[in-house]
Structure formats: structure tokens, C-alpha cells
Amino acid sequence: MPAIIQVQNVSKSYSRDSFEIPVLNNISLDVQDGEFLSLMGPSGSGKTTLLNLIAGIDKPTKGNILVNGEDITLLGESALAKWRASNIGFVFQFYNLIPVLTAYENIELPLMLTHLSKAEKKKHVEAALDVVGLTDRMFHYPKQLSGGQEQRVAIARAIVTDPLILVADEPTGDLDKNSAQEILILLDRLNKEFKKTILMVTHDPHAAEKASNIRQLEKGDLI
């Protein structure tokens, strides 16, 4: 069975003034369906860039990325946005919740792009809240939640559309030890119980241990 994510000879460089700065050098990587892959490496190694490329929020300078058989490097901006909406759930280091929306409304945000009825949306949001264990905080605003709770809302937002892949960029990077542990348990549960393919970027070895597979990046090379 082919890998759900196929990164084929991908390079990425950024232009700064007249300089070309290479970030990823001819990377190839396969991620199997249901795999929990942790990308590790020091700052500037290119792990977030690789994650962004796989999530379709950035484009490689060279190479192809196939997700579920579809080459996302060939998609235009609008098609890519639609693809992300139905295939990717994104968890950020700093949660990135909309401060004027309640937990419920933040989770509901991706569903605004669907044609689900109000009742169906409610069902999805409540299910996501149940998974992250925040049903009792659904009407709270982000500022009324702890960091760990905010991240759990962000995870609920990422899974509410039942995406193919969950990508998490340093999901425990801004949390205390206990909250970080809770988030890792939750991700582990999403992987094992809900069979979600998860790609997690971290530089915390303890967090990486939760993954079924760990890959290291060093100065743009996968080692």
C-alpha cells in the first residue's frame, strides 16, 4: 500500500534580498496511513518548513509532495485552500485561537466552509469537544482558558472536519509539563483510537517519544 504522504526530492529555499537561503535539501520521506511521525531537529533545521510544505501552506522550490495520491504542488491557491479545508488539521504552538470567539465558535470555524446544517455542525463541534474533554468550557473565551485548555480547543478545531492528516507544530512548546503531557496523551489517543495520521514537529525528546516514528532533520537534510 503506498504511503499516504510521499515527499519526493523536495528542496526549499527562501530569497532574502539578493541571497538565496537553502532550507531543505532534496528531501524524500514517506509517511504511512495511521503513522504518528515526529520530526525533530535543532532550530533552523527546516522541520517547520517541511511540515508547512506537507500541510500545503507553502510550496517547495523543487520536488513533489503527494498526499493520498494527489500532487499538492500542482494545485493553485484556491484549490489548495479547499484541499487543506478537507484534508489537513493544523495545531500551532501558540494555539492561534480567535480571541473574540468562544471555544465552541473557534471549533466551529472550519465548519463555516462546509455545507453542513446547523444541527450537523453542532453535532460535530460537540463530538470534538467531547474528544478533547472540554464540553463544560464550550462557552468560554480563550482568555478564560488555561494554555493547555486553549491547545485542546485548537486540537478540537483541527479535528472537527475529520481531516486525513493532523499536523502539529511544537504543540507542547508553550505549555507547562503537566499540560504538555495532557496534549501528548490526547494526540496519542487521536492516533491510536481515531487512526489519525499525525505529523508533529518538536525539539522536545520527551514529546517525540509519543510518536511511532521519529525522523531527525539537520541543516535541511533528513538523517
Binding site: A55, A81, A85, S86, M112
Partner: protein, 386 residues
Amino acid sequence: MKIFKLIFKNAFRHKLRTFLTILGIAIAVIAFGVLRTVVTAWYVGVEATSANRLITRQAVSFIFPLPYTYRDKIKEVPGVTTVTFATWFQGVYIDKNQFFARFACDAETMFDVYPEFLLSKNELATFKREQNSCIVGRDIAKQYKLKVGDVMPIEGDIYPGKWEFVIRGIYQPRDKTTDATQMLFHWNYINERMKKETPERAGEVGWYVVQIKDPAQAGIISKQIDDLFKNSNAETKTESERAFAQSFLASTSAIITAMNILSFVIIGIILLVLGNTMIMSARERTREYAVMKTIGFTGSHLIGLIMGESLFISIIGGAVGLALTFPLVKGLEQVIPKGVFPIFQIEPITVVLAALSALLIGFLSSLSPIQRALKMQIVEGFRFVG
């Protein structure tokens, strides 16, 4: 959750800033509405003119009189149906601050030529019969609490001396644009006294109002009238009543133009205020737009969100401004002497212009933040530190 809810929540994210912006728009709309009302009030005399009335005045200047004897000659011009005349009397009623138009007119024909001044048959008959009588407009009667039978003492200046007029009628305006602030009395009353006191000024009228059958013949009739008095001591200039009214405004055209420009400058200023608010808001939300793009929101979604918020603020500001403009203009109408602006009210076109301006401001203010949000790459958005 609907997109409108998100727009609403975004709009009131910074309550004070949004409140001040709405207040700014409201004040601008009020200023725009009041200035436009002043401009339209200025032009109301032009709007009230009739196409079948010509004005014959002294060719050199309006301030020079014409001989009374011209009346019969003008009457003979083909196409002329009625000729009446009037003289600017001015004078002081109560004190110099009480300004309204006071004319000596031909009592027999004046109300035939000006059918928009509605007067009962009895009032008109009494007025025609009594030489020291006068007719006042409804608004003047209301302002000075005057009624039929009251005596209005006027201290003359152009026609010196003390004058007393007995009110024999109060005319009602037929149309919205009809001036209801005039005082009209017998030219004969003035002329008889002039004959005794200053005979050299007797037999003079200020201008003739010539009623014609066919407005399409106005040009030909005007020329025929002026040709009658060519090379005389008092040559005439005849023009349509509209042109005559516009020539009065010509002297103040610079002020009106300035007011017109100012009303649109205000709109420009508030455009900058709302534009600034929207740019600040969009800048603060750079990361949020990056998140939304990541989730799958497209350019058109962001356009809807940003433009929706901008329009929402401008519509509220515009609505508040318009709602306050009406009582303010009403209040100003009470304060401004009736004689200055006989008709002082908000025209429908002013409401339409103010509403359209508010919408235009909302639309234009959103363009820059929209462009920024669309251009922003997601990864750049996440790197942004506001």
C-alpha cells in the same frame, strides 16, 4: 455561526476604537448633511422659479429703478399675459436683526402672477381694497405671532419715515419650495407718499414680473421687451425668473462652492479615519488571517470579512449621523432667522448622498487591508509580530 456574527464580533473587538470611529463617521455625516442643507437652502429660490415668468430689470444694475410707465408697453408685447411689479422696501421691523423680505407690489396683479402664494378670496379682496394693508407669509406670522388685523410698524430706510401696515391676509405656501417669509404691501401706498415727500422718486418700480403664455417663447419675448427700451434712460434686461435668481446667487457662488467642496472634504477626512481603523485592525489580525487561510478560508472569504466589517461600521456611523441630522437641522431652522433661509430642510438627495457616501467610505476603507490580507503568504503571517 454565520459570517455576519464574526463580522459583528470583529467590529466590536476594540469597543472604544469602534465607538470613536462610528462617532467620527456620524459627525462627518451630520456636517455633510447640514452643509448640503445650507447649499440647497441657498438654491431654493432658484428651485421655486416658474418657467412662464420673466423678470425685467434695469440693464445696468438691479438696484436702479425702472419707470412705472414701462408696464403698459410691456403688456403690449405679444405672448405676455400679465405684468406685475415690485420694489424692494427693506425697512426695520422691531430691530435690525429681524430680517425678512418686504416688498411693495402691485396689489391688483401680484397674486395672479404668483399663484403659489395661496390666499383666500376674502383676504385678497380686502387687501386690494385697503391701500395701507399688507399680506404676510405663514412662517412670518408664526414667528412673530401675527394675525389678521394686527398692525406692523416698519421704520423705513430706503423709503424713510414711519410706516404702518395692517395685516389683511396670511398667505400659505402652495409648494415645499415656496417662500412663506415675505411681506407684501401696496406700491401705491408708498408711491403716494413719495409724490408728496420726494417727488423725484415717485413713479419708480424695482422690477417687472412678466407672465408669458409659452415658456418656449421666453427668449424672443425677452428680446422684444428689451428692444422697446433700447437707447432710453433706463434700458432693461429681461431674463427668465430662474436666470434672475441664479444671478443673485452668482455673488455668493464662491461661498457655495467652498461649502460644496468642504462637504466632500469632510467625507475624505472620515475616509482616512475609517481607513486607518481598518488598516490597524487588519494589521493586528495578520496571524488570524494566516490561521484562517490555513484552515481553508479563501481570498473571497477574507474580502467578505474585512469589507463586511468596514461597511458595518460605516453603515452604523452613517445611520447614526443621519438620524441626528434631522433634529439638528430642525433645531437650526428654529434658530436661523426665517428671512435668511426661507426653506431650511433636508432634501431627499442629501439623505441619498450621505448614505451613499457612508457606503463608499466603508467600501474604500476596506480596500487597503483587503489587498494586504490577500497578498500575505501564510508562513509570513505566522512570522508577523504586531
